[in-house]
Amino acid sequence: MNLHEYQAKELLKKYNVPVQEGIPVDRADAAEEAYKNLKVQFGNNFAVVKAQIHAGGRGKGKIQGTEQRGVAVGKSAEEIKTIASNILGGTLVTIQTGAAGKVVNKVLVAQDVYYPGPNPVKEFYLSILLDRSKGQNVIMYSTEGGMDIEEVAHNTPDKIFKEWVHPSGGLQPFQARKIAFNLGLKGEAFKNCVKFVINLYNAYVGLDCAMLEINPLFKTADEKIIAVDCKMNLDDNALMRHPELEALRDISEEDPTEVEAGKYNLNFVKLDGNVGCMVNGAGLAMATMDMIKLSGGEPANFLDVGGTANATTVEAGFRIILKDPKVKAILINIFGGIVRCDRVAQGVIDAYKSIGNITVPIIVRLQGTNAEEAKKLIEESGLKVQSAILLSEAAALVNKAVA
């Protein structure tokens, strides 16, 4: 589960990780208020308005139909209010959102951290994630902050450092010191960075993050180390032990059909193609998508109905897939093991009759327990449903349907 920047920063503060302070608001006049409060608190005329969406590239992205950037600096209450009203309710298009963009419902009015001081400011990069091959968490960091880290990794791999954390003892102080040294920090900034890294790692573990990225990690002119931006992704499997984090979920950021599928415990991912599919098992579902493509179609979705495909789940699956007007055919691919194919077939027939006006061809491939009985049931139902037993037969039927 992804969090917004403002949510992630609130959580980091609970772990004593210093962040760029800010106030989230959903109205332009509230943004003006927030600016005034920040000005009193920090004595700085500058402030930043940051669009809150689940995608990166906000600073370079623009609100559709305008020149307004998703992150912009202002130096008066009036200016902040104007920027906020330009952004709020608009659709922000960034390199990560795709052409459709994302509607901005909230902005974070944040303190300006580039204030002057005795020393130069500096931007770094730091993230914590799981190294799957080692089975350990790894801290990735770089002196090249504020930019696209994948580009840095590609162009100058020697500027990316990695520090693996042993699961038994956790992050050790010497490792945090090594990170601060490698970032070239000295004196107060060095001490602050060591504390920052240790507290950030505690937050990563304590919140069960799947990924935690601070970009830029920032050294201020007065030697503070703070998180200016934060991308936090939580481990969905661990949400059961963090009910308070589950409450931070922003459904408006998710595809509405995916949200609806979730209500029926269906695992659904919306894609762009013309052949819908409904499959039991994630691996077989991906394989079915691949087969649709090889048969000349394009998969319209990923849908795993799980181990207990029945009339209710099949009907919900049908209704969700049929919402997409681009769908020209639907392939149901069930390998019956514990679940009997004839029951699934009956489920398909019942769902079909219950929905009534399905105009696209339906191809049902049922294999495994009672596959022959299932085929017979479907053929005798009188419905416009084509049935197959072998995967290759189903592929041929898909090919015919999209031709």
Partner: protein, 290 residues
Amino acid sequence: MSILVNKQSKILVQGFTGTEGTFHATQMIEYGTNVVGGVTPNKGGTLHLDRPVFNTVAEAVKETGANVSIIFVPPAFASDAIMEAANAGIELVVCITEGIPVQDMVKAKLYLQGTKTRLIGPNCPGVITAGECKVGIMPGFVFKKGKIGIVSKSGTLTYEASDQVAKAGLGVSTAVGIGGDPIIGTTTREALEMFMNDPETEGVVMIGEIGGGMEAEAARWYKENGKKPVVGFIAGQTAPPGRRMGHAGAIVGGAEDTAAAKMKIMQECGITVVSSPADIGVTMAKIIKK
């Protein structure tokens, strides 16, 4: 021969008396698997499915001599169950549970280091040696006895492959579902190595999916050590980057873990890669019969 489990294996069911445990233990017993008992804390001393229930794995091992365990414990307690089994000296632990928090598995994986315990899974269908022993949730009848080993990250795709292999006139020695989570006990390479060393296995079907580097690791090992034909398939050729496709580990993170990248590496290492899942069985038959 075969690998991992056979007629001699003595199976213990952790989470024995729960709904899932009861259902699948019954199926395993019907298949002919030697289920010697189960563990459910605070139900020790009772009988379930005509077999003794114990409070702890250690006690169950002492009383029954069990050397394999299968875990049907809810996600919040599953990593603890894995460690308990390892602590009791169980040689092979098969964890079916889906949805275990990643950080729990980081700890459990470390705990297993230096023990004699091998873990299969979590989030997997289990292991089956055709006609001898089923330690998992797969439909037993699909696995006709034969000489092809199957290693797969996916459940239903394993059944699909086994069915195709049987229809092509070959059949299965052992099928191992290694699981679709980011951290799993036994890797593709380790399963492949066991099959290479098993005299009863003449060819291997290797099924992977997007995410992680296990298939590439297995392929590189195969290039140096392979002595039997391998047919490979990678699910998720059409999966968009950055999206999780059902399995917690099935997500394209970079250029290296896409289906296309994995298929290329496998091909370069001498594995016969099929792009359609419908071609797994026929392709294996062609190679074996040559």
